[in-house]
């Protein structure tokens, strides 16, 4: 029993965080957004190539097939970093959801191409009426599906109801949501330190402090739920779907609270397109509903807990 990340895991996450904060700052998001305004895809091959060069497309691919052979706990940690940096390239979808899904199905022919970044795995599932991909609907001549998230391109969703795919994708959405929440809290906190009113930084007022502290509490207690769900999926526990649903609910609540608080702390600036916060906030809104809404996941928790299938009580912490 050791509920900690290993030194290697923490080092990997830090490396990815440093890389993304150096190469994928808000100016990149603004540039991609501007490209989309011009009618182009909000993507930059250089970003995708950078992720490939770091080996992240092969994170979950077995070493025998040219990958790093890591596990879902590692992937969840990196997915949180992708959320923190508001990455729009389909790294999480392809490499952290698609790859373990294909591996579980025994489909290995495309793995080498995935590691090389040549193949992006579509994730069709009945739970999503539309799916994220790389091509703006305007370029497809289909104006009806436009996400509030300017960097998220949508197309009509179709697909089966593979529960493993759903659980993998919901888990990785939850991981991105805690990273997004972290980033929004940090942006609001930094703003509260520099914005002065009534002769002092607004962050000195308890009315601001207490709201930000409540976000810190929500995030602090959402994260271990996500890591526990990742470990349950990695270990193949029967109860893993329950823990994934718990993680999706907890991370959604933390991100939604932090998004609303962050805009409030930014005041009127928060209501503009000029403050970068909106990228993170809109991504949070999108992921909150993707791969099963809060209501869907709450029902799954309800069914397992009130239904009696899940043993509960102090002696069942890790059941």
């Amino acid at each position: 029993m050791d509920f900690r990340f290993s030194e290697d895991q923490l080092t990997l996450a830090e490396t990815v965080r440093d890389y993304l904060s150096g190469t994928h700052g808000p100016e990149v998001l603004r540039r991609l957004d501007a490209a989309k305004e011009q009618g182009n895809a909000p993507r930059d091959p250089a970003i995708w190539n950078g992720l490939i060069e770091m080996g992240l497309t092969g994170l979950l691919v077995p070493e025998a097939q040219g990958g790093l052979g890591m596990g879902l706990v590692d992937a969840a940690l990196i997915a949180a970093e992708c959320g923190r940096a508001c990455v729009s390239e389909p790294l999480v979808d392809t490499a952290f959801v698609g790859v373990p899904w294909l591996l579980a199905k025994g489909e290995t022919d495309q793995l080498a191409a995935i590691v090389a970044g040549e193949v992006k795995v579509p994730l069709p599932h009945a739970i999503n009426p539309w799916v994220a991909d790389d091509t703006p609907s305007r370029l497809r001549g289909n104006g009806e599906l436009v996400s509030v998230d300017p960097l998220r391109c949508l197309s009509k969703g179709t697909g089966g109801d593979d529960p493993h795919l759903l659980n993998l994708a919901a888990l990785m959405s939850a991981a991105q949501l805690v990273g997004l929440a972290d980033a929004m809290l940090s942006q609001a906190t930094e703003y509260a330190k520099i914005r002065t009113q009534f002769g002092q930084p607004i962050g000195a007022f308890q009315g601001i402090k207490h709201q930000l502290a409540s976000c810190a509490v929500a995030i602090e207690f959402a994260k271990p739920v996500v890591w526990r769900a990742a470990a349950a999926m990695q270990d193949g526990l029967d109860s893993a779907p329950l823990h994934v649903s718990h993680a999706k609910v907890a991370s959604t609540d933390a991100a939604m609270l932090t998004a609303e608080t962050a805009i409030q702390v930014h005041g009127a600036m928060g209501y503009t397109y000029e403050v970068d916060l909106h990228f993170w906030m809109k991504r949070s809104w999108a992921l909150a509903g993707a791969w099963g809404s809060r209501a869907f996941h709450l029902k799954r928790v309800d069914k397992a807990v009130l239904g009696g299938a899940q043993p509960i009580g102090p002696e069942h912490t890790f059941a």
């Binding site: 029993m1 050791d2 509920f3 900690r4 990340f5 290993s6 895991q9 706990v73 809290l185 906190t189 509260a192 330190k193 002769g199 002092q200 930084p201 962050g203 000195a204 308890q206 601001i208 402090k209 207490h210 930000l212 502290a213 409540s214 810190a216 509490v217 602090e220 207690f221 959402a222 271990p224 739920v225 890591w227 526990r228 470990a231 349950a232 270990d235 718990h246 609910v249 907890a250 709450l298 928790v301 309800d302 807990v305 009130l306 509960i312 009580g313 102090p314 002696e315 069942h316 912490t317 890790f318």
Partner: protein, 387 residues
Amino acid sequence: MNLTYTPEQTAFRAEVRAWMEAHVPKEPLVTLECREGYDQHVEWERTLASGNWGMVTWPEAYGGRGLDLIQWLIFEEEYFRAGGPNRANQNGIFLLGPTIMEFGTEEQKKRFLTPMAKGEVIWAQAWSEPGAGSDMAAISSKAIRDGDHYVITGQKTWSSRAAFADWGFGIFRTDPDSKRHKGLTFILFDLNTPGITRRPIRQLHGDTGFAELFFDEVRVPVENCLAGEGEGWNVAMATAGFERGLMLRSPGRFQATAKRLVELYRKHEADASPAAREAVMQAWMASQAYAYNTYGVAAKIMAGGKIGAEASLNKIFWSELDRSMHRTAMALLGAAAELKRFEDGSVNQWLEGYIFSLSGPIYAGSNEVQRNITAERLLGLPRVGAG
């Protein structure tokens, strides 16, 4: 990350479970906040000690078992699974004990820890004063050095257990010219020392668990000072860290409440609102989240880490969770919520628990203060009043 127990840990769980099933009183004890209930709870402390379960993490030399924090968590889970009573000596074993372990001399450890683990000496805390609640640095009770004694004069209040306990601990101003955090000293004292008057305070529920303490030239030997003279603030902050951080409220307590809440919901499902149903699910989810987080903190400490200001996040979380779980239960009980005893004569523990849960966001540093600490020390926002 490894979330499975070792065979040794599983065997330890079985050992605790068997002992608890054989020894935990079948009927709930009378509340700790009155003479009769206090005596029952002290008796239970001694029963626990007879099984050597007083404080499992302490070294054997001080009445413990020398176990690690994971084993402590397993012990606590089984304790609450079995419905173990509240710990009469929680101020001692969870707060003062770890503080003595960190700051005490070898002689103090021998003198105080073993009787504490064995339930022979029950401890009260004496932090707050009428003018120093959330703002503890405003303490004015004085302890003036006179030869090999301190002479204490002043007043403490909201002293948990002080109505009946044997000993107390708190911080006192040993330098009369000092201000705020300086010049304070952490002192342990026998509550029966001449010059101490206890005035029990009737609490919200009508019972008398805490007390005011009046000190009138109370002579306390200098060897009862913990760490050095003037070090009181640092020592007290460490104690507060234990209180808010890991020890005082182990997750088993809240997981047990969440489980009882699920059972209560099933009984009242026909009349329950969808909001109550969601609140019950939130109770289970939040109590689990608290447990995961605690296992994370335990692992961190076992690897040599320390609990810092994040203890404040912890305290906010468990106290507000406890209040919301009991609020939900009161809503589910409907008209029966007001009954002190149900029609079958059993105590309405949800009502007692709800009343007690209202103190959670206040004691151990109010949640407003915890949110300030979170904002200032974890997020780095400017201190209150700073320009």
